[in-house]
Amino acid sequence: MIQFLLNNEVVNIQHEKADLTVLQFLREKRSMTGTKEGCASGDCGACTIVTADVDENGLAHYTSINSCITFLSALHGKQVLTVEHLQNEQNLHPVQNAMVKYNGSQCGFCTPGFVMSMFALYKQAEQGLLNKSSDSAEQSAPIKRHEVIDALSGNLCRCTGYRPIIEATLQACDDAKADKFTQEWPHTVKKLLAIKHAEAAVGTANLLMPRSRDELADAIAAYPNAPLLAGSTDLALSSTQMLQDLKIMISLSAMSSLKRVETSQNMLVIGAACTFSETESVLLQYFPDLFEVITRFASRPIRNQATIGGNVANASPIGDMPPVLIALGAKIKLDNGQTTRFLNIEDFFIDYKKTELAANEWLDSIHIPLPNPDQLIRVYKVSKRNEDDISAVCLALNLQLEEGLIKNFNAGFGGVAAIPSACQALNDELVNKAWSSTEALSLAQQIVKNSFVPITDVRASSQYRTQILQNLLHRFWLETNSHAHKIATRVEQHA
């Protein structure tokens, strides 16, 4: 059984199809048509809803997600809130009021999704959870424009040009006070904990939800062709876009062992089923230079669902995390329930969308060596649009210098080959060279140019990708050589 709260109502799911999306459940099974379908691929945000989860301290965590690419297993033990739930009797919620007041809706089709993303931000603001940056220009404002942009990065509006929506969000979240959900939380917690602590097995006959290593191994043995379901942000597309019938799936959402984050022996260990949002703060704690790539990785609702393990196991050549992990020298741990093994991440990828993962294995965790202070790390992502776009090229660079000489030069490349790639030659040929010399830069550019023959596709031409690789190395050279520090190299400053 899958059990969740739809607002305050306990919902039990026993017999639905495995690939029924939350959006289909709401619109088709519950006739709750407030939540809209704009694309059914997690790109527009018209279907955004919010889930509330209770943590070990009894506190609420409000998370915006795209209901169009979420399966019901993701809701187990959570409270589901949609645009229909926000009103308090006849009174609009502050985020709804602000949208009316600031003329934030025109055609209105994207509006419920925006309202829900705003609501998630509102709750985080109310709980004092937002990270405040030290951007001096905005110091007086309790909520920052960039936080609004981040929260609404997964919502497209074709009518307004966004200005009124940004202002409405700033105003509504600026002074976020306790709302009806805060007042009802003690009751909500009781219901959620009752679900979580129920003895009954979770999952349904076709949507399995193993809770332990053994159960997962058994599930895979019983259904060797059933896909493993983590964030579902990619897997769901095979149902909603490719019209495949996903009859049986094995959800990892109850596998708490895959959700651990820990540091040990100079390694940062991230469980494969951790979402990007969950790992954001720890990654930035050790690798502040990842800020740009993390905030430009898809959109906030996608990062709330998508897992770091999914981004690796998916083996897409245009995923942004594999190049980063390659540059950082990460290893991955594979498990089959009996034995585990470690692989260098670049060795995991064999061919287009093909990996070393055996049929009975799953990805357990990712192990990233903690950085030395003399490491220079940059990740550059080039795409047509700044927010929520797939990289034409993603270049992750990790350079270690000793008195100006190159000791280690690890780079990860996305979008320039059939698999996420490293470039051993870069390290081999540049080691012990002086990085500040233009010769070193030219050599690096030449090596990269010769190492990759990218394809031309909808995102960029082969020539552009090749050119960009070399020019990004130039940017890196400018940014990491002190004599060039005063040269502006970015059109957009990332905190």
Binding site: E37, Q106, F109, Y162
Partner: protein, 787 residues
């Protein structure tokens, strides 16, 4: 009814021409419902018990002859109850809106990749969509035309060309101090309305049909459904409450899905819903026309233009659809705001094996207007003057000239005032200096600045469409229901209409409700397009209100022995000298006195005419104006860019609703920016669209909105007698975004210290920007070597 007044200041308008401040500030009529999820779109209407779902099967080649269609697997697919082909259409197969060429389902021939070949009806949406993938369609492929260039080579046109000329261009060009030629590739654009195409049809008694359609043109849907079914128009009712965005993409493109649903509904006597999945929507519906434009311009050392020869070629796709009028409108705007002493403009309608390109906000105007701005940039760089200086001295004016290439006098030009104000409020010249300094010290990041004007002609160029009807009912409790032919797609039309009704009757806005647009309430309507929604329907509604007011005024005047024309409607009452009666009271009394409380209204735009034979006339009732300043930063290593600041001053006449108008301006600008920057349509060499979903086609996201975005209304009453002397605002602001493209060019040009005009095609993706940067660097290096 009303005298034409020459008032230039909205404060000088007669009192009954003024919308009160309270009414002006009316929020969008659906705002509360939209934010709470209760605003109902077609897919949200409670489904009838016998509803079945339809899906469309498409061609996977761009051009060919249908040899055989094997539907056995489709029929065997789970849940399928009917499948239709072209041969199953009982009435007209062609649903072309103006000219023939658009079969409901492929009729022997395949004209584009993705063309609808058959439709299937099944129990669920998923079943119908799965079944639609299962046909075996055998097509004998024929060579396809996929570019404007190859269409030209093969003389493939959907319609004959059109020409406009004034003066002696050839001689004037020969006599010019300087001559430049250039070309400009302009990309198309996917509408990307957030609500995709959808229709639900319910068969009623006998052969009657009730159609719910997300359409900007319910009357056309009604006509085409009737024709496809082979029944009369009076048997079909189309109901349209609201669209989740239209932008022109639901003007002609919505009808096909209603017709297919209606045919399946008629055959199976059940309700049918057809909602296109996003990717299919992007493949199977028309887009903004891509253009290939060429120009020759003659000018003097001061940058004053003497003559232009402009050639516009629109990629119309496989059929005419609305392309004749669209390429015409591109031609009508190839001057933008500038006087060409001598000019020739030609417009060609190229036929390709692409989806039939269609109406999109601006309707060809943007693709023509951008040529004018390309010309002005090229001239300015050639003579070494700031582009703004050159733009200003070529504006229409009493000194330069006020005759357009189509021989219409520009008599309402307020651009010199708008530009002067904007130049000052945006600190144009100070920033120009700062940018120059910044660029000198910044080798990688370069800044650019541009101010561009917009002059956009308001009226349908197809004269007969400039008419509208309305139906207004006053009920005995004093509440008022207004219906009109316009459709609500988010632009705030219904809000403005309710404001007009409230203003006319002098009642509170709460007394007024606007119903869904229905073909049985107001017949034979025009599409809600050409920015004309409020202009046309507002006047029609006003006329309906005036009829009722007249009756009530006469009734009240008779009672108190006064003159009907002295009765004033305001503050929820009728006032005649010292006599007053409340609105509720007068309505009640009038009812008991057997006075009709319902009226229809009609309006047709005066003064307009255009002779396509001579290319001369007055196609537009008036012009809407505006100007914008954009500042960008570009990265010369990657071609990435950022819009740093935008300042806009836009003319909406005497605004009926400033907040809604501002919403149109900002939204139009950002949508235009998308067209010119990140929104890139790409077809692979077999004619398949590859930018066919939201992961591969990128419209502006929230972070693309500039941090500094100053938008002001230039509030001056329209000198023409438009509704309350307001101006249309739907399309004109879209073209304000041309300043973004010009600013990017300006930043690239800074590499040559403004001497070289970069050939930046649109959309200016980072890749194209980088290509221009590299070409310019090469050119400069070459130049150095020559020295």
């Amino acid at each position: 009814m009303r005298k034409l007044i020459e008032a230039r200041d909205s404060k000088q308008l007669p009192s009954d021409h003024i919308v009160s401040t309270k009414v002006k500030n009316t929020p969008h009529e659906s705002a509360v419902r939209q934010v709470s999820g209760t605003a109902r779109y077609v897919d949200d209407i409670p489904e009838p018990a016998n509803l079945q779902h339809a899906a469309v099967g498409m061609s996977e080649v761009a051009s060919g002859k249908l040899v055989n269609i094997d539907l056995s697997a489709v029929w065997q697919s789970e849940g399928v109850c009917d499948v239709i082909l072209a041969k199953d259409v009982p009435g007209h197969i062609d649903i072309g809106p103006v000219f023939k060429g658009d079969p409901l389902l492929a009729d022997g021939e395949i004209k584009f990749y993705g063309q609808a070949v058959f439709a299937v009806l099944a129990k669920t949406v998923q079943q119908a969509r799965v079944a639609a993938t299962k046909a075996k369609i055998e097509i004998q492929q024929t060579p396809s035309i996929l570019t404007i260039k190859s269409a030209k080579k093969q003389n493939a046109y959907v319609r004959p060309p059109h020409f406009m000329k004034r003066g002696d261009t050839k001689t004037a060009l020969q006599d010019s101090e300087h001559i430049l030629t250039g070309s400009l590739t302009v990309g198309g654009q996917e509408h990307l309305y957030l609500e995709g195409q959808v229709s639900m049809v319910m068969p009623e008694e006998e052969d009657r049909m009730l159609v719910f359609s997300s359409s900007q043109h319910p009357s056309e849907v009604q006509k085409l459904v009737a024709e496809v079914l082979g029944i009369k128009l009076h048997k079909v009712v189309v109901d349209m409450r609201r669209m989740g965005g239209g932008f022109g993409g639901k003007e002609t493109q919505a009808a096909q899905w209603s017709c297919i649903a209606a045919l399946l509904a008629a055959r199976n006597r059940c309700a049918v819903k057809l909602r296109l999945p996003r990717q299919q929507d992007m493949i199977i519906t028309g887009k903004r026309h891509p253009f290939e434009n060429e120009f020759t311009v003659g000018f003097n050392a001061q940058g004053k233009i003497s003559a232009t020869d402009i050639n516009l070629q629109g990629n119309c796709g496989h059929s005419p659809d609305l392309s004749d009028a669209i390429v015409d409108r591109a031609m009508f705007h190839a001057d933008n705001a500038y006087y060409y002493p001598h000019c020739e403009i030609s417009g060609h309608r190229m036929q390709t094996n692409q989806v039939s390109h269609t109406a999109y906000r601006g309707f060809g105007g943007p693709q023509g207007m951008i040529v004018a701005e390309a010309i002005l940039d090229a001239v300015a760089r050639k003579v070494g003057l700031d582009p703004l200086t050159v733009r200003k001295q070529n504006l229409y004016s009493d000194f330069t000239g006020d005759m357009t290439p189509y021989h219409m006098q520009v008599h309402d030009n307020i651009l010199p005032e708008i530009i002067a104000k904007l130049e000052e409020s945006s600190d144009y010249w100070l920033r120009r200096e700062k940018i120059k300094q910044f660029n000198e010290g910044s080798p990688v990041i370069k800044k650019g600045l541009a101010l561009t004007p917009v002059k956009f002609g308001i009226s349908f160029t197809a004269k007969h469409l400039n008419q509208a009807g309305a139906l207004v009912h006053v009920y005995t409790d004093g509440s008022i229901q207004a219906n009109h032919g316009g459709t609500e797609m988010g632009q705030g039309l219904h809000t403005k209409i309710s404001q007009i009704v409230a203003t006319e009757f002098g009642v509170s806005i709460d007394e007024v409700d606007i119903t869904s647009t229905r073909t049985d309430k107001v017949p034979n309507t025009s599409p809600t397009a050409a920015s004309s929604g409020t202009d046309l329907n507002g006047k029609a509604v006003q006329n309906a209100c005036i009829s009722i007011k007249k009756r009530l005024a006469e009734f009240f005047a008779k009672k108190v022995h006064g003159q009907a024309e002295d009765v004033v409607f305001m503050n929820n009452k009728l006032q005649l000298g010292e006599h007053a009666i409340s609105w509720f009271e007068v309505v009640q009394q009038a009812y008991f006195d057997r006075i009709s409380l319902s009226a229809n209204g009609f309006y047709k735009t005066p003064k307009i005419h255009y002779d396509r034979e001579t290319g001369q006339g007055r196609p537009f009732f008036y012009f809407a104006y505006g100007a914008s300043v954009s500042e960008v930063s570009i990265d010369t290593l990657t071609g990435e860019y950022k819009l740093d600041r935008v300042d806009i001053l836009h003319d909406v006449g005497a605004s009926i609703n400033p907040a809604i108008d501002k919403g149109q301006i900002e939204g139009g600008f950002i949508q235009g920016m998308g067209w010119l920057t990140t929104e890139e349509l790409l077809w692979q060499d077999q004619g398949r669209l590859i930018s066919n979903n939201l992961a591969t086609y990128k419209i502006p996201a929230i972070g693309d909105t500039p941090k500094i975005f100053n938008v002001d209304l230039f509030e001056q009453a329209n000198i023409e007698n438009s509704i309350y002397h307001s101006k249309a605002v739907g399309e004109p602001p879209f073209m304000l975004a041309i300043s973004v493209w010009c600013a990017i060019k300006d930043a690239i040009s800074s590499l040559s210290e403004g001497k070289i005009d970069p050939p930046l095609s649109c959309p200016a993706t980072p890749e194209k920007v980088l290509r221009c940067v590299i070409e310019m660097q090469n050119e400069l290096d070459g130049g150095v070597k020559c020295k």
